[in-house]
């Protein structure tokens, strides 16, 4: 995607700057941005290290098992035809937990593993199964408990209170997730009726 977007951004910027006489501004911004990103990344390192350290502790304890137990009833509602106690269910759960804990790097491989498992159980190999749709929607819902990246951005830009956004983020995330889940359930029902 960025192979297309990135050159478009740069080319239209330069062409537009030449036409509108903003080329000096644009030239200055190249240096400014390239310099700013260093400062920005260095301030990102602190919080990112802290959080991956804390999350390493969480993943090395039985915390994950507790979270699985808490999530189980919700999983049963969202994925009604997932069999109990098999690896598919475990991978689906681990993916969701990794998302909640903000372990972006771990969440995607787990999610793809779960997709692989679900594809094996899928009766129509060329179309997404009901469970796959739900898994994808949950992964596009940003279920993160602590939005560390935004917190790092805010603190690097000198916010007086970087954390102030956490509760508003929860409200927005929960509403978005509910709409996504309900829409998916409706689509599943509609497309299944049409098929049968």
């Amino acid at each position: 995607m960025l192979n297309i977007l990135w050159p478009i951004f740069i080319i239209i910027s330069i062409v537009y700057a030449v036409i509108s006489g903003n080329i000096e501004n644009l030239n200055n911004s190249i240096f400014e941005s390239a310099e700013n990103v260093v400062e920005f990344s260095i301030s990102l390192i602190g919080l990112t290290c802290l959080w991956s350290g804390i999350m390493e502790i969480a993943t090395n304890t039985k915390m994950i098992d507790y979270l699985c137990k808490i999530l189980n009833p919700i999983i049963k509602v969202l994925f009604p035809n997932l069999k109990e106690n098999n690896t598919t269910k475990k991978n689906v759960m681990m993916n969701i937990i990794a998302n909640i804990l903000g372990l972006g790097n771990a969440a995607t491989p787990l999610g793809l593993k779960a997709m692989d498992d679900l594809q094996r159980e899928n009766k129509k190999k060329d179309a997404l199964s009901d469970n796959m749709m739900m898994l994808i929607v949950l992964n596009t819902a940003s279920l993160q408990l602590i939005p560390t990246t935004v917190l790092a951005i805010r603190s690097s830009l000198g916010s007086e209170n970087p954390s102030i956004i956490i509760f508003p983020v929860w409200i927005a995330t929960i509403c978005a997730a509910i709409v996504g889940i309900v829409a998916t359930k409706i689509i599943i029902n509609m497309t299944n009726k049409k098929r049968s």
């Binding site: 990135w6 920005f40 991956s52 090395n60 190999k125 939005p147």
Partner: protein
Amino acid sequence: MGIVRYISIVAMPIVILLIIANALKEKVAIFDIFLKGAKDGIEIVFKIFPTLVGLFVAIGMLRSSGVIEFIISIISPITNFFKFPNEILPLAMLRPISGSASMAVATDIIKNNGVDSFIGILASVIMGSTETTLYTIAVYTGSVRIKKTRFILVASLLADITGILVSIWVCRYFF
């Protein structure tokens, strides 16, 4: 406002407390494990650094050339009608497509409007409550080579739009 502020402020310390208290109970070598994880953090930032350089420069060029302003001026009659804050338009447009591009755009918006201003907070909330939907769908369906996606895009984009609208509403209400 008081409660929102309070919950937001205690959220992170409480999560840390729960994790550490639980680890103490299980008698694991907490600090050694912490260090192991913290080391990965450096790698994470190092890995995305080149991407960020490319995108921060590109987004900076879009802004300084006046392209962003131009696009906003075209769409603003529609967004003004819906009372949608124009400043966050670039973020709303890029967020579903690319994580690093939206990070660059969010940083740009937050910086230019002030980190604790209404727009700064709104951009932060949108960034925290939405995902790179199109990218995620592409990766997940592509990994099992499925072409028939049964309107999953509709459901996910509806969720994204909800996330953005609720963010605006919540920010207007609380800040």
